[in-house]
C-alpha cells in the first residue's frame, strides 16, 4: 500500500467562524482561536471531535487549545504569527486532505495583538539578518517604513500618487460601512485621507491596517464529504505560493516576479482566468501593497496599479470588488484570515448589503515575502 491514498478529489471549506474584532482583553490569542473554531464548527454542523487535523497560526499555546477543546486530532501543528504565513497555513490543510492522510482539518487563527500591545517596529521587530546593526541605529524599523520606501520608489518610477493610495483607503472604508461587524465604520473622503497625520511619510494613518484582537477559523474537508454537509461547499480551486524572502524586505521589483509565478500557477490549477474572477481579497497591511499586488498578479500592467485603483474599480459595483468586508484597513488586521473568511462568505451568497451578485470565483492575493494566492469557487475543479 502506498503511504498516502492520492485521493482524486477536491477540497472544500465547509465551516467558517469569526469572533468579534476589537479590544477584547478577557481573551488571549488561544481563547480567541477557540471562540472562532466553535463558531466554525457550529457553522459546519459538526462536533469538534470530528476534526482530525488542527493547524493553528499565531496563537502559540496549541496545548492549551487542545486541553480546553478536548479534541484529539491526528495532526497538530502551529505556524508563526506573521501574516505572510497565512496562505501557507491553509496550504498545509489542503495538502493533508488531498493526500488522504486526513479527512477534516481546522485552520485556526487567534490574535490578541491589540490588548497584548503588539508592536510592529522597534527593537523586538526583527526579521532576517542584520537589522539590529544596520537599521536600528539610523532609526529604521517597522513594516510601515518599508512600505513607505517602496511606495516612494514606485512613485518615482511610475508616477503613482498619494491620492491613488487614498482611493484604496476610501474604497475599503465604504465596504466596511456595509459590514456591521467591521471595526472602523466612520465614513471617510479623499480629503479626510489627505488630512490624516503622517506615520512614516509619505504614508498616513489611513494607509495603515488596524491592529485588533480577534480570531478566525475555517474547517476544510474533501469535496466528497462536503456534499452532504450543512453549508454549501466552497471549493479551493487552486493554491500557489512563491517565496521571495531572499530578495530582502524591499525587493527592487516590488515582488513582481514572485507574484507572477504564483499567479500563473494558481490560475493553471484553478482552471480559471482573471476575467472569471468576481471579487478579490487582497492582503492590505498598507495601501501600497494593494497596488504592488494587483500588478504582480497581473490585474493591471506593471506600473499601472495606481491608475488602476482609481474610479471605483475596487468598489462594490466596480470591475473587481475588493476586500468587501473592509479589509485589514477598515474591518480588522486579521492577517489575511478575515479576507479568506470573506471569500467563502461571498461564494456562499446572500450577504446583506455587500454581496457580489452571482459570485462564482473569488481570489485571495497575498503579496509580500511569501507571495500566495488561493482561488475559491462555487464548483469543484
Amino acid at each position: 500500500m502506498a503511504l498516502i491514498s492520492n485521493r482524486k478529489d477536491s477540497v472544500a471549506v465547509v465551516g467558517v467562524g469569526t469572533t468579534d474584532y476589537g479590544n477584547l482583553p478577557e481573551h488571549d490569542a488561544t481563547s480567541l482561536g477557540i471562540w472562532a473554531l466553535r463558531n466554525a464548527a457550529e457553522d459546519a454542523g459538526i462536533a469538534l471531535d470530528q476534526i482530525d487535523g488542527l493547524v493553528v497560526q499565531r496563537l502559540s499555546d496549541y496545548q492549551k487549545f487542545i486541553q480546553i477543546t478536548a479534541m484529539s486530532p491526528r495532526l497538530v501543528t502551529a505556524t508563526p504569527g506573521a501574516g505572510r504565513m497565512t496562505g501557507g497555513t491553509i496550504q498545509i490543510a489542503v495538502q493533508a486532505i488531498l493526500s488522504g492522510l486526513l479527512d477534516t482539518v481546522a485552520v485556526v487563527y487567534g490574535n490578541d495583538g491589540r490588548s497584548a500591545g503588539a508592536r510592529y517596529g522597534g527593537k523586538d521587530d526583527n526579521y532576517g539578518t542584520g537589522a539590529d546593526q544596520m537599521w536600528f541605529p539610523y532609526g529604521m524599523t517597522s513594516p510601515g517604513a518599508i512600505h513607505a520606501m517602496a511606495f516612494q520608489r514606485h512613485a518615482a518610477m511610475y508616477g503613482t500618487t498619494s491620492e491613488q493610495l487614498g482611493a484604496i483607503s476610501v474604497a475599503f472604508r465604504r465596504h466596511a460601512l456595509l459590514n456591521p461587524t467591521a471595526v472602523m465604520r466612520k465614513p471617510i473622503t479623499l480629503d479626510d485621507y489627505l488630512a490624516a497625520r503622517y506615520i512614516c511619510e509619505p504614508l498616513r494613518l489611513l494607509d495603515y491596517c488596524l491592529i485588533n484582537d480577534g480570531g478566525v477559523a475555517m474547517i476544510l474537508t474533501s469535496g466528497e464529504r462536503a456534499r452532504d454537509m450543512k453549508q454549501k461547499p466552497v471549493y479551493v480551486r487552486g493554491l500557489a505560493q512563491v517565496s521571495r524572502l531572499a530578495q530582502g524586505e524591499l525587493p527592487e521589483d516590488f515582488g513582481y516576479a514572485a507574484m507572477q509565478r504564483a499567479s500563473q500557477r494558481v490560475h493553471e490549477l484553478a482552471g480559471v482566468g482573471r476575467e472569471d474572477i468576481d471579487a478579490l481579497m487582497i492582503y492590505d497591511n498598507f495601501t501600497p501593497t494593494v497596488i504592488f499586488t494587483l500588478e504582480g498578479f497581473g490585474y493591471c500592467p506593471r506600473g499601472e496599479g495606481g491608475r488602476f485603483v482609481e474610479g471605483g474599480r475596487l468598489e462594490l459595483g466596480g470591475q473587481y470588488p475588493t476586500n468587501t468586508n473592509g479589509g485589514h484597513l477598515s474591518d480588522s488586521y486579521m492577517q489575511g484570515w478575515n479576507l479568506n473568511a470573506e471569500a467563502v462568505r461571498q461564494l456562499r451568497g446572500g450577504l446583506p448589503d455587500r454581496q457580489v451578485p452571482g459570485a462564482q470565483f473569488v481570489q485571495y492575493l497575498q503579496g509580500g515575502p511569501l507571495s500566495t494566492s488561493i482561488i475559491y469557487g462555487t464548483e469543484p475543479n
Binding site: 508592536r119 517596529g121 522597534g122 527593537k123 539578518t129 542584520g130 539590529d132 546593526q133 544596520m134 537599521w135 536600528f136 541605529p137 539610523y138 532609526g139 529604521m140 524599523t141 517597522s142 517604513a145 513607505a148 520606501m149 517602496a150 516612494q152 520608489r153 518615482a156 497625520r197 503622517y198 506615520i199 512614516c200 511619510e201 509619505p202 504614508l203 531572499a246 524591499l250
Partner: protein
C-alpha cells in the same frame, strides 16, 4: 553627563571590521572571496554564489539615494527629539545598498533628498566606540 540615547549596533566578531573601519573614516564591507559580491550582512556565506568565505574591501562612499521616508512616529525613544527624521537607502556606486540617514539638508524634508540624488558618505562618531555611516548630498561635479 551626555548620554547617547539612540539604539547602538550590537557589534559581533563578524561585524567588528565594519565598525572599526567606520571609526577610522573608511567604508568597508564583506566581499565574497569567490564572486566578489559585496554583502551588507555579516555571515560567512555568499548569497550570490552560495560559497563560503569573505574578506573586507573598501568602497568609495559615493552613491545615490535609492529609497527614502520620513518618520513622524518614534519607535525608539532616542529619536523623539529628532522628529520627524529621515531614513534613506543609499545604493553605493559599487552596488550594495545601505540603510542610513541623510544629513546636511536645510530642513530634512523628502523633497530635499529625492530618489536618484548623488550622496557621499560621512562618518558620525556618535560615541567613543561607535561611528555611524551617514550620507550628505554630494558636491556638484
Amino acid at each position: 553627563m551626555n548620554t547617547y540615547a539612540k539604539p547602538l549596533p550590537a557589534i559581533t566578531e563578524q561585524s567588528r571590521p565594519f565598525w572599526d573601519a567606520a571609526r577610522q573614516g573608511r567604508l568597508e564591507l564583506p566581499r565574497c572571496d569567490h564572486c566578489s559580491a559585496f554583502h551588507t550582512y555579516f555571515e560567512p556565506w555568499c548569497n550570490a554564489c552560495g560559497r563560503e568565505g569573505v574578506h573586507w574591501d573598501g568602497l568609495s562612499g559615493r552613491g545615490r539615494i535609492w529609497a527614502n521616508c520620513r518618520f513622524h512616529k518614534a519607535y525608539f525613544a532616542g529619536f523623539q527629539d529628532d522628529m520627524p527624521y529621515n531614513v534613506a537607502i543609499v545604493e553605493l556606486d559599487e552596488g550594495p545598498r545601505l540603510v542610513t540617514n541623510i544629513v546636511g539638508l536645510a530642513h530634512g524634508t523628502l523633497d530635499e533628498m529625492p530618489i536618484g540624488m548623488p550622496v557621499q558618505a560621512v562618518f558620525d562618531a556618535v560615541t567613543d566606540a561607535v561611528t555611524l555611516v551617514k550620507f550628505r548630498p554630494a558636491e556638484a561635479a
